[in-house]
């Protein structure tokens, strides 16, 4: 598998709290992407971070990439109930499709 065992997890937090989820990958990649999948929907891309970037922000989202440890993280600040979803990281195999991590289920309670 491309992904480490630590990807699979479920987090329950209260609205307003911050949350960080991590993933690690085993083989070289030029891009790490983070997706959110809400119940009954397809994945929606949140952030794409390239190998020459250490950090990328988009609104309340912050992604980091450490190519030396082959790991990435996604943080959400000030969570809302609408952030409840499963979050996946994925590597892009030179535009030959995505390899998804196991995902993190985040439940945000009001």
């Amino acid at each position: 598998s491309q992904w480490g065992e630590e990807n699979l997890q479920a987090l329950s937090i209260q609205e307003g709290e911050d949350v960080t989820m991590n993933c690690s990958y085993k083989t070289y990649t030029t891009v790490v992407q983070w997706y959110r999948q809400k119940s009954g929907k397809g994945p929606a891309q949140l952030i794409l971070i390239r190998s020459n970037e250490r950090e990328k922000r988009s609104g309340r989202l912050r992604a980091t990439l450490d190519t030396s440890s082959q790991s990435s993280s996604l943080s959400i600040t000030g969570t809302l109930a609408t952030d409840t979803a499963v979050y996946f990281c994925a590597t892009d195999n030179y535009a030959q499709g995505l390899t998804f991590g196991l995902g993190t289920r985040v439940s945000v309670f009001p």
């Binding site: 929907k41 397809g42 929606a44 390239r50 892009d92 535009a95 995505l98 390899t99 998804f100």
Partner: protein, 114 residues
């Protein structure tokens, strides 16, 4: 952006039958990808489909079981042959406009094989 329309949204079929899933893009795209997602699990890349060429299948997926057609730059079909209960999952088509760019997914087709 690319909008991908999948049809049907969901279907129930009998074991041993075949089901065809269509994916239509609202603009021309070079590559289309098909993914399988079992309940409460991650997405697994099944195959890559480029116009006018045979689809490239990932390990565990075969042309005989999941034939894919890509007759033009906006359309692809995935067929599930000899469907079994173990094929019950959600199938997504996906594409992007540029390499390493934003990736878009259809809403998925939920298949139940009984």
């Amino acid at each position: 952006s690319v909008l991908l329309y999948q049809k049907p949204n969901r279907d129930i079929c009998q074991s041993g039958t075949s089901l065809k899933i269509q994916c239509v893009a609202d603009s021309q795209v070079v590559s289309m990808f098909w993914y399988q997602q079992f309940q409460e699990q991650s997405l697994m890349l099944m195959a890559t489909a480029n116009e006018g060429s045979e689809a490239t299948y990932e390990s565990g997926f075969t042309k005989d079981k999941f034939p894919i057609s890509r007759p033009n730059l906006t359309f692809s079909t995935l067929t599930v042959n000899n469907a079994r209960p173990g094929d019950s999952s959600i199938y997504f088509c996906s594409s992007s406009l540029t390499r390493d760019g934003e990736v878009f997914f259809g809403k998925g087709t939920r298949l139940t094989v009984v």
